[in-house]
Symmetry: D2
Subunit: 291 residues, 4 copies
């Protein structure tokens, strides 16, 4: 309870670079896999006795969306990020934030300048995103140069306004969304998982996705068992709607779910039983031609 595991201690305070000038630093953490188990055992008491093993219990909790024990672990990060990323990030309301203030302090001359290969056309399929293929290299280089020049000009203008003694809170209003800000960000593991699920998703903007992956790498070290369960039951899970199950039922008709298949996949005990029930229900409810 009272000290960090060496792997975690090694992470504390370290700057993990994100984008060209941003970073993620783990400032502090409360709890670990054992803290999740500890809370669950208070909560479910004898209900958890039969699950002798911590890993199994954590996987059970994740599988059945018993989310409150995961709230017992808390992370605090120091993050430096462009303002347009900060604006997406702050939509996650169940976190504590202390952000650098442009009213109190002078903003620093640090702007996000994308790599040329990140300058991509609007996606034809995805209304909100960029396409896979980059712009032509020459054009990309040219646009990056353009963005940089504008950023420099805007900062020079900001400095001039400050020299005219214009209040900082006003001098900043023409600074761009590519400007870096920083904040302390504190969040519990359950809500952090939710953040990661949304922001590691391929529909999230590339820039915030980078941060999410960096945070994920830290979380993996701090709570390895919870992370593994999150990957198996949430991140890597697939969901089928009611309509889709109708088709699934047709495709699965006649297939044989053998013990060997379950075994090879590593499904056993209660989890195997639940899977059998899931399949049986799909076939029963959705395959209208089933006997």
């Amino acid at each position: 309870m009272s000290s960090y595991r060496p792997e975690v201690a090694a992470l504390l305070g370290k700057e993990f670079r994100c984008l060209d000038k941003g970073f993620v630093r783990l400032i502090d953490v409360m709890g670990d896999d054992a803290a999740i188990v500890q809370a669950a055992r208070v909560s479910y008491g004898e209900g958890t006795r039969s699950v002798s093993d911590d890993r199994k219990l954590i996987r059970y909790l994740m599988r059945h969306r018993h989310t409150s024990p995961f709230e017992m672990v808390e992370f605090k990060f120091h993050i430096k990020l462009p303002i347009f990323v900060a604006r997406q990030w702050i939509r996650h309301r169940t976190a504590n934030v202390n952000e650098y203030s442009g009213r109190y302090s002078i903003m620093r001359q640090e702007f996000y300048l994308p790599e040329p290969e990140q300058l991509r056309p609007q996606s034809a399929l995805n209304k909100q995103g960029r396409a896979e293929e980059p712009l032509p290299p020459d054009l990309a280089e040219q646009l990056v140069t353009r963005l940089r020049q504008t950023q420099n000009r805007l900062y020079a203008e900001y400095q001039e306004l400050l020299q005219h003694n214009l209040a900082r809170e006003l001098a900043r209003i023409n600074l761009p969304l590519s400007l870096y800000t920083e904040w302390y960000w504190k969040i519990d593991l359950h809500n952090l998982f939710h953040f990661l699920q949304l922001r590691m998703d391929e529909h999230a903007q590339y820039e915030i996705r980078l941060y999410a992956h960096t945070i994920a790498d830290i979380v993996k070290v701090v709570v390895p068992l919870a992370w593994e369960a999150f990957e198996d039951y949430v991140l890597g899970a697939v969901t089928f709607s009611r309509l889709e199950q109708r088709i699934l039922a047709r495709l699965l008709r006649g297939s044989q779910l053998t013990d060997r298949l379950l075994e090879e996949a590593g499904l056993e005990g209660r989890e195997a039983r639940e899977f059998r029930q899931k399949l049986a229900r799909i076939l029963r409810e959705h395959d209208e031609e089933a006997p």
Copy 2:
């Protein structure tokens, strides 16, 4: 915007009975399906233009877990419920509550007395629940009588303590968890869906499940399109973990996903494309013997 649809007006204030003495009453509601669409169109702007139809847009939002437009609809209920149900209910923190106070007021002589057929043994499978089959009818009747006698005795004792002028906040401490309380409960549609998903689940205790189903019947009338989407993409959805997908991949190997199957199931356009991709990914990533 300014008045309730007749179907909704007909619900307002009406008592829907739950359990023996409890109820759910819809007190007020802000917004409807159109309010969800209105908020989404502000948010996604041109991104929603191609989705001409409200129903399609709502289904798209639900399918892709764009939850914030659903937060724009707000429900206020008056609910009367046993304290042990209230204790499960209050764990949903994103709601506003005004509960009857046993410090200010005298509790009324109203206790939840289960129907004899609800007196069931501890489930052998489910650590938290009751079994399917009831106790023997004679025993059940006898236990119900017992519960009622105890409730009456406890209330008589409560009255006596009050007659000795013991402060209400103390006189109540031996009243049982079966006592009815009541509250005003206000919640937005997104969080209400989450409540319903958890509390309509078969693992939820029977008594709270009854309330959840009663509320669901009200929600259906107020936001029929959102409800339908919720049923198709959340309530009726099935999720497969990473391990389970390995098996699914084996079972699906060799099956043929034809256009006709998609059509018969009612999947078209973007949704059909997404389903094809989902299946292809399962086969690619999980069927190790796939070419």
Copy 3:
């Protein structure tokens, strides 16, 4: 319950201008003063019987920080505001938001350009704010022209990047914080009061203060009794720390609190009694030379 009072109906949908191009529009509201009373009466039951009058009950609730009945009223606004204001605003986490997205849609050519007399020097006293006196008019005019030119140039560049088919989510990154965005914002009255308390404060930035005052004018019409109580007991209240009470005790020593003074100030009954106790306690605890 089912329809808006005429004064409220007259507000719905109307654009109240804020700054040069922004606005506040009341989209919908659930509840009014009566809804606060209704919830309080459920909650405090007989405890509220003696407070026969709605106004008195609402004032009692506000005075004693019984905040939950105020959560039973919900407001939904449509707001157009510069991004730097939006970034201050969004820090209030207990609200629902749907914002216009620069990933889905093209941002419009609308920027906040301050009035020349708002261009003020950094305050010497207040580390975060601007001074009272404006910059010299010539300089102010010149800087405003400068800001406008920059905004126009930035928008032209944005359009060019879009013409090169750069993804919208990237083309926007050099747009400035003075750019207008818009959102639907839904919040309950208790949290709205908290927002107003912080954002009508003279330490809040002028631009967000304007919005707060506009919203306040709307709230006054919708819940006049709650607003009056909020002004008397929160907005217009003054708080003295422990240290300050020591001085107050010395300054008040020997003064006479007469019934006539109470009466003239409009304090009666319980409220007058509480005031007497407050003063007596200050004198007792903090005036060390008191007998």
Copy 4:
């Protein structure tokens, strides 16, 4: 950052008794006074440079209700408490909770039995509370015996129902509100202060007040500077409404606020200036007869 101060380490895991069978145990804590300062310095940057001293900065933050740095400290407690106390406690929604479940586990035979001197009559003044003077000792003893007998009888009945194999979730419904439960409770310092402000208040029920005071004693050790500021500016503060200020203005008329008074009270610098302004404003705005 990486280890607990000895005073804090000495508290960890220790049981602090509350009521007859309850307790508060500090399980873990993230951060201390330095963590508040650290977050504030990121947030207010140069704005905090002039406040060289941690204590002064923390007091400044508390005085001006800059609450977010206090959210950077997190406490986790293990608490055993009667259910009627738990029901008041859980109303604080910004915390994480894992409670012992009567569906999964058998409730233990532990009930809260008040001390006879706590058996007090209903307060004549305070609609929700108990009076100062206890019931006659004989009567009190008699009622306590009565409460105990009932508790024993209820537990015996619970055991019997379990022996009939009635599901735990039903067997418990006639257990009383005096039954002890326990939970893990995790909360940040800002919200904990809010909890303490409400629950240490004399209007809070005696039983929850005991817990609040026990927690306060722990908080004092963990964040001594923040605690001191909380006492001076929040707990020990007094607030005057607009009406009350009218009277205050009359009482203060003619009094002399000298530098010596400020000095003796320990007010200096910015804080002294703010106090002068506060008084001047009261006199100006509320003393209609002032020149």
